[in-house]
Symmetry: C2
Subunit: 137 residues, 2 copies
DNA sequence: CCTTGACTTGGAGTTACCTCCAGGTGATAG
DNA sequence: CTATCACCTGGAGGTAACTCCAAGTCAAGG
């Protein structure tokens, strides 16, 4: 029988595939309360709703920038608590945004250092090659 | 008696202070071969030379951008081995530079997401305040 | 009916990177 | 002379974030 309802939901393997997080990690995130409990099918299998998937995406995004799980858990907890926590949530995100800005700045400085150092090596290698050519003459 | 030789060297506490790495961390870095063995005074106390200090600074810089210890140990090892390893060292730094570039890019995207989200919260809070004012009338 | 394979759970194990500790030494201040 | 203090060593402990495992369930295919 054809299912007339459009089925958006996904099993854990699909979510894992799509967001590059292992199934174990997804289950782990749920365990620690980072993602609220996902609905299970009759046979107990996770059935990620669109909302769940958006949460995974959000978490994946912030985690990949290095925000600590602890902070994200706290934030997601506040989200669950509803409108009264908007102020607190904003404060968390603002703080993390500022920290991230600082981290990016530091990394850019380091990148510069690395970049110059690579260039120094490249010219050193060129000089060495030239020396070899002269020796061969 | 006055010491006529200019004394640049530092004890571990001073290096720790100056670079924001704990003494334990400095000793740890030496243990794992990230910093070659630092000279000891007669009574066995570390006496960081200018070169040692430059190494600490370099490591601190790269670590703060998230380069893994393993890679840095490998690199410092090659440095110890002398000129023959210049090519290999360049390759390591180039790879790490490229990885870092990618990480910074990803973080900038996340920063944008965070930034927008903070703004959404800020306007939401403003709207809420306005509502309260109206209710009070 | 039986096997296969993707899923479930609770709990244990792993990795990277420190951080702490116990027990000991040597220089300096009271 | 003794107490304090910064340092030493080797080794154990801690934390964050996964990652793996054993034992079990269920649906689908042969």
């Amino acid at each position: 029988m054809i299912d007339y309802f459009y089925e958006v939901n996904m099993k854990i393997a699909e979510v894992s595939e799509r967001y590059g997080l292992s199934s174990d990690t997804l289950r782990y995130y749920e365990r620690i309360g980072l993602i609220p409990r996902v609905q299970r099918s009759d046979s107990g299998i996770r059935d990620y709703s669109e909302l769940d998937i958006r949460r995974v995406e959000f978490v994946k995004c912030l985690r990949s920038a290095g925000l600590p799980l602890e902070v994200l858990v706290e934030y997601m907890d506040l989200v669950q608590q509803g409108d009264a926590t908007i102020e607190a949530r904003k404060d968390i995100l603002r703080e993390q945004r500022d920290l991230l800005t600082a981290r990016i700045l530091a990394m850019q400085k380091t990148l510069e250092v690395l970049h110059r150092k690579v260039q120094v090596y490249e010219t050193a290698i060129l000089a060495k090659e030239k020396q070899i050519v002269q020796t061969e003459k």
